[in-house]
Symmetry: C2
Subunit: 345 residues, 2 copies
DNA sequence: ATTAGCACTCTCCCCAAGAGAGTGCTAACG
DNA sequence: CGTTAGCACTCTCTTGGGGAGAGTGCTAAT
């Protein structure tokens, strides 16, 4: 266990380095944080902390810099809660007030706000409806060739898609078809509706109903494509340019690689697949080589009480952890409100 | 008018500079392009070209670099047609083959491909349905509180949106309502359906029909919001990181500003609002200060013969103009094919 | 255990010198 | 008269040395 003074020193080093981005020496440390001892003592403490792996020295006659483990210890044991300022709260509260019904707009604004307040990169995933259940399938006849397929879920969402039908179908057939789909699929979590299950339903239909397989196949594959698309999930990114403000991203090639990564939606999506709660991934803790001097702080948000999506901030390991965590957790609430409020009316 | 030799020299300077990104001197010019005269002669020609404003000298003892007007002259008078390689064509042809019905996927891939082939930033706008006409409005009752609003356009597109209704409405009312909207709005180009027109219709409805204004207002505003959203248009961007490969973007602050700009969708949208055809905007010809050492080459694509959207490449003024233009024009065709093919089936 | 003092190390900045590249000018040439 | 060889000149970029500055670790004294 670290002595109280060592903890104090480590905390001071982190806070100083986060502010200045420059290796911090014993002198500046005693001057700016009243530690009550001399520089020599601090030097000894810092040497100890270095040996323990919490601090590093860029070169022998420079100050100290927190290592990944140093940040880790700081986050786990030393960090103090941060209070958002009033204006920050106001900014974030806008989210709940967006009038549009489009999730799109809300999420785009969220990622933007995140980057704006944190000065890092903001990331937000769309709410995943995986966990919600299908309640019914409807087919509505529109005109001679067009029908509308509707999926209802138990969290109040409705998705619709226009489908082109072959001319030989009767309105009654369509009702039967919809009823059958509902019968077979209702109550199932969206994520369990795989192509395998759909294939089964397809086979059954072929046996029981006397439709052209063409039509059935079309409907089944449209349903499938559509479920896939809505299950895919999107990632909204805002403020990518902010990383260029950080002194640790002066190396153009490094920045380029990171930016290229940020354009790969599937990778981001996988990256943001997280368990509920707040999580901090520091430097080497990240799997991807490009991100090994970045930190990702993530939180999840819920819709109607169920975990739905992730919001995150990506920045250098030298990050204002306390502040970012506060922002994320506050925004998590705002998003829940925005989405849950929307479903009610 | 420029002498044939001057044209030759200017062409050589542009081509050399585009390849090497370094000021080109008389020596390298005669060595790499067989101009048949000595360096001294070339020096004189270059001095003339500089005086005419087509070339510039970074400093007195450096080689020459094309000015914005130099590029302009090159593009307008000197450039030779570029042939795409087979593999480039294959890559672009993928676009037409995307099976998804989602415009989203096609456009995202398009911007990606554009950046991949050109090594600059690729931009694509979604097809604008402005010019198409509304044919009818339908309201379909779903369950006690939900209705589906449908808009049909004369190019075969259908847009649908779920609306929440107050309970007091009767199915017959809804049909009347839909019929009235159709009666008043059918045949109008989408872009003419402004909030002013909708307000008029709203007023008329209030007089003629005995519904709660609450409901009417709701429907009108939903319709409005929705038309706005589908008229808004989106911009797809790919390969933003590519600009970091360019030696002219070493200045981090400059890059940051440009990246920030690229995150502003409305600005991009305005930027890409272009008349049909291929267009090159070089350096200072751009309005925005951030872009004054960039070139935007844009082309438009049509859907069913009508101009629908823009695709563009953004890079440094030192750009491979001929190649980029070929790529854009080829892709324009691919996009038209992708979208027009889609509407048919 | 803490601290003052000191020698030592390493980076960063500045400056001067020299190499290199390219020019413009002048005078000679066909 | 257009073209070219030759040359002096200018400017940048690189290289290397020297000194200032910051910070350290160690030792001896408190």
């Amino acid at each position: 266990m670290l002595s109280e003074r060592k903890r104090e020193v480590l905390r001071a080093v982190v806070s100083e380095y986060v502010n200045t981005a420059e290796p911090v020496g014993s002198r500046t440390l005693v001057r700016r944080h009243d530690l009550g001892v001399s520089t020599a003592t601090i030097r000894n403490e810092m040497a100890d902390l270095e040996e323990m792996g919490y601090l590093e020295q860029p070169h022998v006659s420079a100050g100290r810099v927190p290592s990944d483990s140093g940040y880790r210890f700081y986050v786990d044991n030393l960090m103090e809660q941060d209070q958002l300022t009033g204006s920050e709260q106001d900014l974030l509260n806008q989210l709940a007030g967006i009038t549009t019904r489009e999730a799109d707009t809300v999420l785009a604004s969220a990622s933007r706000l995140l980057s704006q307040i944190s000065n890092y990169v903001g990331l937000v995933t769309s709410p995943r409806i995986h966990t919600s259940r299908l309640t019914s399938v409807k087919l509505v006849h529109l005109d001679h060739r067009l029908a509308l397929a509707l999926l209802f879920t138990d969290n109040g969402q409705v998705e619709s898609r226009v489908m082109v039908l072959p001319p030989e179908i009767e309105p009654a057939d369509m009702e039967n078809l919809a009823a059958y789909f509902t019968h077979r699929l209702a109550g199932k979590p969206i994520e369990e509706i795989t192509s395998q299950l759909l294939d089964e339903v397809y086979e059954e239909l072929l046996e029981n109903v006397r439709h052209s397989c063409d039509l059935l196949g079309q409907i089944a594959s449209a349903l499938m494509a559509w479920l896939k698309a809505s299950a895919r999930g999107r990632v909204y990114m805002g403020g990518a340019h902010n990383i260029l403000k950080q002194p640790e991203f002066q190396d153009l090639e490094k920045v380029r690689r990171l930016l290229a990564l940020l354009e790969e939606e599937p990778i981001l999506l996988q990256l943001l697949q997280r368990d509920p709660g707040t999580m901090v991934t520091i430097g080497r803790e990240n799997q991807l080589p490009v991100m090994q001097d970045c930190t990702v702080v993530s939180a999840t948000y819920a819709v109607n009480g169920r975990p739905a999506g992730t919001l995150a901030v990506l920045g250098p390991t030298r990050m204002n952890y306390a502040h970012v965590i506060s922002v994320l957790e506050y925004m998590s609430g705002c998003l829940e409100q925005a989405f849950s409020g929307k479903d009610k009316d």
